[in-house]
Symmetry: C2
DNA sequence: CGTTAACATGAAGGTCGGTTCCGCTTTGCC
DNA sequence: GGCAAAGCGGAACCGACCTTCATGTTAACG
């Protein structure tokens, strides 16, 4: 996108940037998107000003992390493309892995359903994820194991619901995201 | 619960109470739980002080509405108990009606997954809903149309996911709650 | 080692939104 | 009609958070 050549960061700045990113990941995972900048700064062992030096706004921080998250999901889905097994198993395993990767992270659960602030930075990862998932779905449909009208958007829809269930579970609502996925994936199977 | 004998409200006060309740329902439906008291007051044509006279806190207002909502869902589920048709159809129809009743209301979608603030006032409706749903599920399982291990919590889980999907759809995420329900209910069917 | 540009700090500023409070109005009752 | 008591209005208050900025610190380079 931007072609501005950033001069390399000073050593301490690069170190702090990483600390902030890690602290933000932890804070968002624990408290969701409403985690506070001051808490993030404290966890990172820096002042709030330092956080703002690296990320002009809270949303930019969220976007940076969301980008990473979707890249990770895309990695999972792409790795599945090379896996052995029935197409359905391969697909289902990929979905389970994605869900497992997101389940412990409140902010991730909140974002996975298509939060507006992800649109920018996460576009690349989301596109890769969609492409890989599409392929997995195509194979499973061809094989006859998946309902013939299934689409990537169905999976997105299911993951969106998943996010709420996992977050509610974490909040003590007595739900179970694994049970949720079991049922939802069953709904994608051919009858 | 409370056995305090409230003296009857003055006529204007009763009228205002209703106006506030209606305005709050509209505002929450449109903007979700983060609708603002001042907006509610404006819609009701009263001052914020009047809102606070009737509901000591924003949360109390939410609870009052949540109570109404769950009563309505319970009514739907109980009405289904008397319906004709295969047990599965009767169950599925009840779920579709509940979803349809909630889908247009952002706050309702947010609450349906078990938001903490519902716990108090909505307990009665939730209990009735659970009881009726339990009966519907029992019949459908008996009939062999529903998976043998299905429980009320499964339906709660599905509805929790539904809430996020419907809210995301309203926010323009390009999802479709009807498709979601179709898949999720299919996942509850016996194979 | 000295210079300087980059960086860090955290108190202060700004905003937003829930809640309070006191002077004024309306209702209900004699 | 007159009087409490109940109710109303909305400016002001207050706390929570994001963001900025003036001042002090540190890495990089000659």
């Amino acid at each position: 996108m931007s072609t501005i050549a950033h001069r390399p960061l000073r050593a301490d700045a690069r170190r702090n940037r990483e600390k902030v990113l890690a602290a933000a990941a932890a804070a968002f995972a624990e408290s969701g998107l409403e985690a506070q900048i001051e808490d993030i700064a404290r966890r990172a062992g820096v002042g709030v000003g330092t956080v703002y030096r690296h990320f002009p706004t809270k949303e930019a921080l969220v976007e940076a992390l969301a980008g990473e998250h979707f890249e990770r999901l895309a990695d999972i889905a792409e790795a599945a493309l090379e896996q052995h097994g029935t197409p359905w198993e391969v697909f289902a395993t990929a979905v389970w892995r994605c869900a497992g990767a997101a389940a412990g992270d409140v902010a991730w659960c909140e974002l996975i359903g298509g939060h507006p602030s992800t649109t920018q930075a996460a576009a690349g990862g989301q596109a890769r994820l969609a492409a890989a998932m599409s392929a997995l779905i195509g194979r499973a449909r061809q094989d006859g194991a998946m309902r013939a009208d299934a689409t990537v958007d169905d999976v997105r829809t299911i993951m969106c619901g998943f996010g709420h269930v996992a977050a509610a579970q974490r909040a003590g609502a007595g739900l179970d995201w694994e049970r949720y996925l079991e049922i939802a994936l069953d709904g994608l199977r051919a009858r």
